[in-house]
Each structure stands twice: as structure tokens, then as C-alpha cells.
Symmetry: C2
Subunit: 263 residues, 2 copies
């Protein structure tokens, strides 16, 4: 490796609250020359990188404002100038997103890469709900899957349901009705389910319901991306479980079904 | 709630490196009156809690040095005295461990609980291997499961394999041969597999191999708890893949098959 080259840090920015950054992430930001900032990361993160040139390279949902190839070129260009480039990614860089391709591109160019882990929104969602994702009374584990079919194709919902793990579904809000419907073919209608929008951030909103009402309740309460959908018996441990047994809800959601951020 | 009561913070200490603590965790430790310290957490964490009385309550593997009920009583006792109790748990508190029971016990006593997320060892293991857990070329997601049958029973390995997600298996080292054997009934023999011991700590060790040699290679190289086992096509993206195609290894492992911690 050319000793004159810089390096790239793939930095996981966590779910929004800057206090959920790791100490290691804060140190890397303080030393950064260039920061490439993801849309889903808290924009306030730049205050931790006072010396850095900040470039916004967000891509939200299907709307690709900055093509992936261009982001990779930017990282290479600055690193090859000898600069320390910090690529800030929302959540945990190694869970969804394009870290795999970015790592391959950087290694192909002989650039040193450091990876800094962070808190993924599924864990922040569980913290908001006050539950373990894997309560031993209910399950053997938790499966994190993306419903972003363009990137990953359609998950096998029947196979996922058969694992009896808690399901944490990312990027699923646009297809929540079809996801719930697919899961209902394998899971009981009263399986606890939740949606947490902006998990871990100041605008966090949570809704706890059951699988057969998940899509209706989330839609009527105005939940949208970015949000994590959680499904499984372990979700029923939330003390915020407020769905009404028996009759399906009619009309507008009850006000208390949407739970504001607990400061 | 009695305004004279203290509170309990369930604090995720991450995988060992204190720099992987969140800023929020560091602040909670600085303000702690009492710290209950898990065996799997880095003991150096107490330097971040200079005012606190530190009580070690480790339970490693099947060897329960401090019964769960006693830990819960300790938390209640100190919180009801009005103190801020920080319960330090290795990794991510909401993934395995007994957070579910601890949350229920504390709420039952009317004690306020705060949860602080952290980095689970499966993510630190992926960072060590330099891979995304969910490279979109290979999978839809990742499943975290525990092989600790006393707590969670036996996972359905065939169902997990059928999901085509990356598998991150915790507490599986004692049963690695039977786990690999069960997975081989559903997955190809050459499915990439890895073991990362003390992921994210200074003693981190990594081994990358294939499913049919996983148990033999890990055992002969002396890998043991605490370690994460990773299985799936996404693991094959590691540039540390050093297993030899073709003939199974004979005798001692090659020295380069065990990869030391990259500083």
C-alpha cells in the first residue's frame, strides 16, 4: 500500500441520537478531513467533525440522489490524496446499506479501510419498546431482513416465520400490507407486531398492535419510512401493548395507540 | 412511582473495546452510584464510573456464579434506596442475556428503567472480518440465534438454513460439531463459515473456513467461548478467506488460518 494514501473509515452513525455514537466514532469524526454524509444520519453529526469538509451523499429509499458509483469515486479520490475520509452511514454499516460493495471498491484501489460499528435501528426500536428482542420464553433469536426488493429480492416470509425468531423488518413500510399478508399465511393473527419510526431519534414514534391489524393500524396512524417493523411473540412483552382484544378497530386509531417518544 | 426511588440503567457494554461504548453509556457510567458488572464486559469499564460502588455479578456459560434472582434483588434494593444503578451487560443488552426478565422484575417493583443500546459481538465479528453481514448479492438479512439450549431450547436449524440469511450463532462453541452437522443437512458443504473469538476485544481471533470443516478447524485451532459462529455466503466476501479448496486439511491447522487481531 502507498504510504502516502489516506484511509477511509466506514462509520456507523447509529439511529439518530448523537449520544448513541460510539466513543470510537466520535474520535474518528474529530480526526476526519472529509465527511461523506448519509441522508439517514443525523445532520448534527458534523458538529463532531469541525475540521472536515462535509459532502452530503444521501440516498433515501428508492430515490437515489447520489449514485453509489459516485460515492465510491469520491471516497477513493480523497483517500488517494492522503486524506482521512469518514463515510458516515446511518444505523450499523454492516447491516444493509452498501458496505459490501464499498469495502470491495476501496480494497480494489489499495485503500486502507477501518470499520466502526454502531447501533442499528432495530435495537433502538426494542429499547424504545422496553423489550428484549430475544426473550427466552418466546424465541431462539431475531432475524433482521430487508424488504427492499430492488437490492435484495423478496425474502422468503414463510421460511422466516418458520424459524420462530423475532422478525425485524427494515425498509418495509411501502409494502407493509403485502408483508403482513405473507406472514399471516404462517403466523397467528394475534402475533404481536410493532412499528417504530425514527427509532432512537427525538421524533421516535411507536405503535404496538397485532399482525392482522399491523398494516391498517400503521397506515391510519400515518407511520412511514424510515421505520422498523417488528413481529413476534417477544414483542408482546412491551408494556406499551395497547391493542384492544376482540373486535378490529374501526375508523381512526385511538390516540393512545401512538406512543410519543419517552424522553 | 415513588419520587425517592432511584433508577436502573440496563447498559450494553459492547464487545470489549471500551471505545465501542456509546457516548450515552459513558455518561451513565459517570453518573452511576452502583455498578453491577457482568463477566463478559471489559472489567476496565469501572474506570468510567469513578464514583460508583462496583459489584461483580458475572455468570459465564452454564456456570452461574450469581443467580439471576439475586442480581434482580440487588438492583431493586439499591434503586429503592434512591440510587442510580447501572447494570452493565456484555454486548447488546436486548440480544440474549436476561434483559426481558430484568425489565419485568424492575417494572414490577415500580422502578424506572433506562435501556442503553450497544454493539453486539456479531457486528464486531463482521467488522473484524471486514464484511457486511447482509451483502445484497448473497442474502436478505441476518439471523442472530443462540445455541444455549438451557435458556432457549434448540433452534430449528433447517428452518434457519431455509431463510438463506446469514447466521450469527451465539454461545455455540460447546456444540459446534452438532450445529455444523445439523446445518449441513440443509446447506452446501462449501458454505463459507467463520468463528470469531473475543470479537472486538484486544484478544480477538478469527478463523474463516467452510461449513464442512468448521468444527474440525475451530477445535484444532483452539477456538472456544466466548465466540460467534458465522455461516453463509456473505461470509465468503472476507478477504481473510484462507481455507484451501479441495482436500480437507490434515493434522495441525495452517498457521495463517488463525488470524490475529488487526490493531
Amino acid at each position: 500500500m502507498n504510504t502516502n494514501t489516506g484511509k477511509v473509515t466506514l462509520l456507523s452513525a447509529g439511529p439518530g441520537d448523537l449520544d448513541l455514537l460510539t466513543l470510537k466514532a466520535a474520535k474518528a469524526l474529530a480526526a476526519a478531513d472529509v465527511v461523506l454524509l448519509d441522508d439517514l444520519a443525523n445532520a448534527g453529526i458534523v458538529t463532531l467533525a469541525p475540521q472536515a469538509r462535509v459532502i452530503r451523499v444521501g440516498k433515501r429509499g428508492g430515490c437515489r440522489s447520489t449514485p453509489q458509483a459516485f460515492i465510491e469515486r469520491l471516497m477513493r479520490r480523497y483517500a488517494l490524496k492522503g486524506l482521512h475520509v469518514v463515510r458516515v452511514k446511518g444505523g450499523e454499516a454492516l447491516l444493509f446499506g452498501r458496505a459490501g460493495e464499498e469495502l470491495a471498491a476501496l480494497r480494489g484501489a489499495g485503500i486502507a479501510v477501518e470499520i466502526i460499528n454502531g447501533i442499528s435501528s432495530g435495537f433502538a426500536a426494542a429499547a424504545g419498546l422496553g423489550i428484549s428482542l430475544t426473550h427466552r420464553r418466546h424465541c431462539h433469536g431475531v432475524s433482521f431482513v430487508t424488504a427492499h426488493t430492488e437490492d435484495h429480492g423478496e425474502p422468503d416470509w414463510a421460511a422466516l416465520a418458520a424459524t420462530r425468531t423475532t422478525l425485524a423488518i427494515y425498509m418495509g413500510m411501502r409494502r407493509i400490507a403485502s408483508i403482513a399478508s405473507a406472514l399471516l399465511a404462517s403466523l397467528p393473527a394475534d402475533t404481536p407486531a410493532a412499528v417504530v419510526q425514527w427509532a432512537g431519534g427525538v421524533d421516535e414514534r411507536r405503535l404496538v398492535t397485532r399482525l392482522d391489524r399491523l398494516a391498517t393500524d400503521a397506515t391510519s396512524a400515518g407511520f412511514a419510512s424510515p421505520a422498523v417493523i417488528l413481529v413476534g411473540a417477544a414483542i408482546g412483552e412491551s408494556v406499551e401493548r395497547v391493542w384492544v382484544e376482540g373486535e378490529p378497530m374501526q375508523g381512526e386509531p385511538l390516540a393512545h395507540e401512538v406512543i410519543a417518544h419517552a424522553a
